[in-house]
Amino acid sequence: MPATIDDPRIIEFDVRTEEMLVNMGPQHPSTHGVLRLVLRTDGEIVSEVTPHIGYLHRCAEKIGENLTPRQWIPYTDRMDYLAGMNMNLGWSLCVEKLLKYELPERGRHLRVIIAELGRMASHLVGMGAYGLDLGTFSPFLYAFRERERILDLFEEACGARLTYSYLTVGGATADLPHGWTDKCLAFLDQFEPVIAEYHTLLTTNAIFVKRTAKIGILSPEMAIDYGCSGPVTRGSGIDFDLRRDGEPIYTSMYEGYQFEVICERNGHYPNDHAYPAVPREAVLGDCWHRFYVRMLEVVQSIGLIRQAIENYHRSSGSHGEPIKLNQKLPKGEAYLETEAPRGQMGFGIVSRGEAIPWRVRARSSSFSNLAVCPELCRGCLIADVPAVVGSLDVVMGEIDR
């Protein structure tokens, strides 16, 4: 059990000094953007963490009330800017749910390829930045080296490296270029063995384990209570992934695909003989497990992309033509959550029968994930705060919208 300030057995904590309020952020190297955490500290011990958000609020929902769904796609890019593709996908699917649109087979597989590449790119940043949070710089650059190659692929597919607007309502803006899948496969072949290096550098590193094991333990009950999602809940052992358990319009995208939902079941991760063992110190739901889940999800994504490329070549038809820019939407309301890299990203749309929606809604996964941070950080040390916040892997663009 980590030392907490309430622990009566620890005598040192009785010798309290004056409490100090410290602002961690919004300009701070480890707050993943412009997050401001107000720490109430007693020496090195943090007794309370209060997140203050909104520094990156860009009124995305209000803007959406004045644009047609396809015009709003670029705004979704700027939510989780590390996984723009997945944001595009979430919003497109939400509108398609309202339209009751059926995507052609080829477009479905294309979306799987792109979404899983996006997940890999995002998890790579998550991994690298987590290294930074813990004071090691090199894994960050290794992660970016690989991420660059994913971005190169994206650039070739859609012309952009950060804000793609590639997947759109009705399919994708363009089909994959000729020869793209070969490059993608070549990248996967190169990338897969490299993951072992990351495990050596971080996952199994003695200091890394010391810094993350038993830190910020999130119980499954608390995870559900706070509406956490994605790797954060799966790190707590909750077997839930929208790709498998979501709404039909989303799960049908992954129909026929073989993949595992990464979470610990009966003390084992899927295929865990292939990965470094869980260290003895680690407890389910701590920072280490959240990190580990991300690392293993990358491997699942590789498998998914391989299958998807095969399916993509086998399938015929179009990649899904985007709907007309000013297409009238049916009257109604739709809300759909998809499994973005950071968790369940929900998009909602209220339509009154016009081309422009009455109201759009973005439910951010990081928003709920960050809300649990004050609970996790209570009584930890200052150095643990970046460790915990980093393991939640929040993106402020998505939280503030």
């Binding site: 480890s30 949070d133 004071g135 090691t136 090199s138 290794y142 590193n205 200052i382 150095a383």
Partner: protein, 421 residues
């Protein structure tokens, strides 16, 4: 050296006065001039050393991280990059927070720098017959370990006077950490001192002459362990990763130097690189045979003081040459250790403050203490050790106090207590 300057003065005085005035060899003039010359040389050793090490660090980091590092400034390897950075730092505005304690804030970098500089005064770069050292102290090992600990004052001052909470956190961490690590560091440094029977680093270095098997690293299993403990503690005491908690950029923004900019900030850096090198030099002298190469080539060639090209009573050219080789040896060894520190920095995550303290108090200190006792018992029971000794190394193998004091050329006005050795 003081005698040399006094001799020059004496010659001048003699010529001017027509033989009526003379200057005694221990005149204060020589001492002052010598001190000035030494200060200037050492300042440059630190400044240029820092330039080289920062460049090296960037190159090493670049290679570790699968990139090139600096490549442009100064030609092929970007070897002037640090100088360019230095010029940039000089031109930067010297900022001070409104709430800062002005005098202390401005003084802090100099305090750090002075402490780092002071350690160099007792640091020998080559040994007998012509010790290449600014001040050959008979308590050099003790002096350096003590002075290294002084650097923390600058850091504490910086944190205290910055009027920044992050800086305060950083300096408090540094204070706790450095004060704790002084204990195991001292315990480790004492082991070779005990084996050599002297705190004079020149003597400690010279007792390891001969094959590399004579290095105290290989003296016995205890010293072998002690070296690694020393290196860990040394890394911690100069605030290098994974013990760089005082800076901890992911937690404390930049720790104690959060509020510093420009030249003052770079002084902290020079101090850091300076003490990094000092700690590595100390390790090289105490454990890695100092200025003696792995093979005693100079001895084989008879390049010691009594060797060839000797004339009259002063040391021969060979001795100077021998010193040059020795200096290369020791600087290379220390540089290697510095590189290892860099390697660790760019590979390992940072420890947490409680883990740093645990490492020190629960592991390093007890291990160092046990190894100290072990080495002492070993020395008493098996003075010659079990390691391979070559006939060439008979000087080192014999006990220093039985060996008879070797002629040591005095380099300054401060008398060296030869009886103490």
């Amino acid at each position: 050296m003081a005698e040399f300057f006094n001799y020059l003065l004496d010659c001048g005085a003699y010529a001017l006065s027509g033989g009526r005035w003379s200057v005694a060899p221990d005149n204060l003039f020589g001492v002052v001039v010598t001190a000035l010359v030494q200060v200037i040389i050492l300042l440059h050793v630190i400044a240029v050393g820092a330039l080289i090490f920062i460049w090296l660090e960037r190159k090493v980091a670049g290679r570790i991280q699968d990139r090139l590092g600096p490549t442009r400034v100064g030609g092929k390897f970007g070897w002037l990059q640090t100088l360019a950075d230095g010029i940039k730092l000089i031109t930067k505005e010297d900022l001070m927070p409104a709430g800062a304690d002005g005098f202390l804030f401005k003084a802090a970098p100099y305090v750090s720098m002075a402490a780092a500089l002071a350690a160099y005064f007792a640091l020998p770069f080559a040994g007998s017959p012509l010790p290449f050292v600014a001040q050959q102290l008979n308590v050099a090992a003790f002096f350096i370990v003590a002075v290294l600990g002084l650097e923390v004052f600058g850091v504490i001052l910086a944190g205290y006077s910055s009027a920044s909470k992050w800086a305060l956190f950083g300096s408090m961490r540094e204070a706790a950490q450095v004060v704790s690590y002084e204990v195991p560091l001292g315990l480790c440094a004492v082991v070779p001192v005990m084996l050599a029977g002297s705190m004079d680093l020149v003597v400690v270095g010279d007792t390891q002459r001969g094959l590399f098997t004579n290095w105290y690293l290989f003296h016995d299993p205890f010293t072998f362990v002690v070296f690694w403990v020393y290196f860990t503690c040394g890394t911690a005491s100069v605030n290098r990763a994974p013990f760089d908690l005082a800076e901890a950029e992911s937690e404390l923004v930049a720790g104690f130097h959060t509020e510093y900019s420009g030249l003052r900030w770079s002084f902290f850096f020079m101090a850091e690189y300076g003490s990094m090198f000092t700690v590595s030099m100390l390790a090289a002298i105490l454990f890695l045979g100092g200025w003696h190469g792995p093979l005693p080539v100079t001895e084989w060639l008879g390049m010691q003081a009594d060797g060839w090209l000797e004339y009259s009573t002063s040391p021969g050219i060979a001795a100077y040459l021998c010193n040059l080789i020795g200096m290369t040896n020791v600087v290379l060894k220390a540089g290697l250790l510095v590189t290892v520190m860099m390697w660790a920095r760019w590979t390992l995550p940072r420890l947490r403050i409680d883990q740093v303290m645990t490492t020190c108090l629960k592991y390093c200190t007890p291990i160092a203490a046990v190894m100290f006792v072990g080495a002492a018992v070993w020395q008493a029971a098996l003075p010659r050790g079990l390691m391979l000794r070559t006939p060439l190394a008979n000087i080192a193998a014999s006990e220093p106090w039985q060996r008879g004091a070797e002629p040591v050329v005095q380099t300054s006005g401060i008398a060296v207590d030869k009886e103490a050795r």
